[in-house]
Symmetry: C2
Subunit: 279 residues, 2 copies
């Protein structure tokens, strides 16, 4: 199983500062880390990501994956994070698949990058969506959903201690495989995508959970990872809904405790049969 | 007072879809709009913004302002939104200040755009921060803060009906001047920046309120607008805190009802003197 050469350079995730509350008390208050990480791909500067720094190597790989700057994990030779210079250097295996020439073409096409409601791979992504076919022979039962929501609730998170981050998880049934938090929800998704590539994990029978909103980009990214189930604690946008309908992903919003709203792809969701009450 | 030629093309802000809840009931559910808006500056494609569409002209102007692609409102001749093609065409007054040549230089410098934790004007912004001096002769009292939080609470919002959006407000004391919501919190900030330019509003004695987290970019943008007070319902990141300390902005987080945490710039905040209790 191929794996590029990697650093393992996660950062301290919380810091403590002092704040005055409404009673005039000086409180030590934990806050989430945020660090600039400038990404160089074969020595070309690509972007500066602002990140919590929990999984910088996976974030880098997932960013390159989701921006379609790298076609497979096999194209990446090394990912080296250096917090002295707040940078990550990615080296590609240039002789693989026309390497450098292909990369130049990809960089040229991409005029601007995606972000929170500020996209652009957007046009290309919408074209790709039409060709995505998600597995239809997988199911998620209501019991499994509730068990997953419970596992998420019990998971120790930066959010609980410091707030100001979004979390994403990849689950097999109710079992959390990865749980990654970051200051931007797109970073958290990208880091999961990176981990999946690194570990050669297939998304086609998995559940993607996010604390963030289900916007167009979130739905597109889940679908691109071939994940048939998308679950969020939050709400959704009209375009998230439209794309979810189009691609047929099973999408649930407002999923907390024993509540949820099932929006699309209802055929993959198995509702628990309530025992009949005998009067 | 100069004002460019503008369309007035806001979109329907909420849509209704059907969802199945945990009791198996089919519920009509309002969701927030989300539309791609591709920005052309003098016929050059710059970015596709995903937006709620509440204030697309102000968003466009504020985006160009905050990305430093346009130096003043006087440089903009027209902003024309066309939802038939999901695009907005901005025409600059080319003879103003070397116009086109200057723009080319700016576009060249900016390799990638900002977003939710995916920035890059970043490097430039940090340089700018050093030169910002916020007014030190303005104060915010605890009573005014509470009155503002109450005004925000009573404001009718998309968030209350559909969720999945962030809101930003510009206030003079406890009076809300603008309240703009969008699917990305950066869009909401940019739209406020656009409205301020359009109406020639000076930020140096105003309060900026946001439902979103106080990350580095949020603090930088408030400081660039010369706004000395930054208030959020949410938490903050370590870098947001660091930049706020550096620039001396008065920053409050977790501000809801009669609670808040005062982090930086404490000298501009006037705490209510509690009446002495006589035993």
């Amino acid at each position: 199983m191929y794996r590029p050469k990697l650093t393992s350079a996660s950062r301290p995730l919380t810091f403590e500062v002092e704040a005055l509350n409404e009673r005039g008390e000086a409180l030590p208050t934990p806050i989430a880390g945020e660090h600039p990480l400038t990404l160089y791909l074969d020595k070309r500067e690509i972007v500066t990501l602002m990140t919590l720094g929990q999984a910088p190597e996976a974030l880098t790989i997932g960013y390159l994956r989701n921006q379609r700057l790298v076609g497979s994990i096999g194209e990446i030779a090394a990912v080296q994070v250096d917090w002295e210079t707040d940078s990550v250097a990615v080296t590609t295996r240039k002789r693989v698949k026309g390497g450098d020439r292909k990369l130049r073409a990809r960089l040229k096409k991409r005029t601007v990058t995606t972000g929170c409601g500020q996209g652009t791979v957007f046009g290309d992504l919408m074209e790709e969506i039409d060709s995505i076919r998600l597995r239809d022979d997988v199911r998620l039962s209501e019991e499994t959903l509730y068990a997953l929501l419970d596992a998420v609730r019990r998971h120790e998170t930066i959010y609980k201690s410091a707030g100001a981050v979004h979390g994403c998880a990849l689950a097999a049934g109710a079992t959390i495989l990865y749980f990654i938090e970051d200051v931007g929800r797109h970073n958290a998704v990208d880091a999961i995508a990176g981990r999946m590539w690194l570990d050669h994990v297939d998304g086609s029978d998995k559940v993607f959970y996010t604390t963030g909103r289900l916007t167009s980009e979130m739905v597109i990214k889940a679908a691109q990872m071939q994940i048939p189930f998308l679950v969020s604690r939050s709400g959704l946008t009209q375009m998230g809904h439209q794309i979810a309908s189009q691609v047929g992903i099973t999408m649930l919003g407002r999923a907390v405790n024993k509540h949820y709203l099932l929006f699309t792809g209802t055929h993959r969701f198995v509702k628990t049969v309530m025992p009949t009450m005998i009067a």
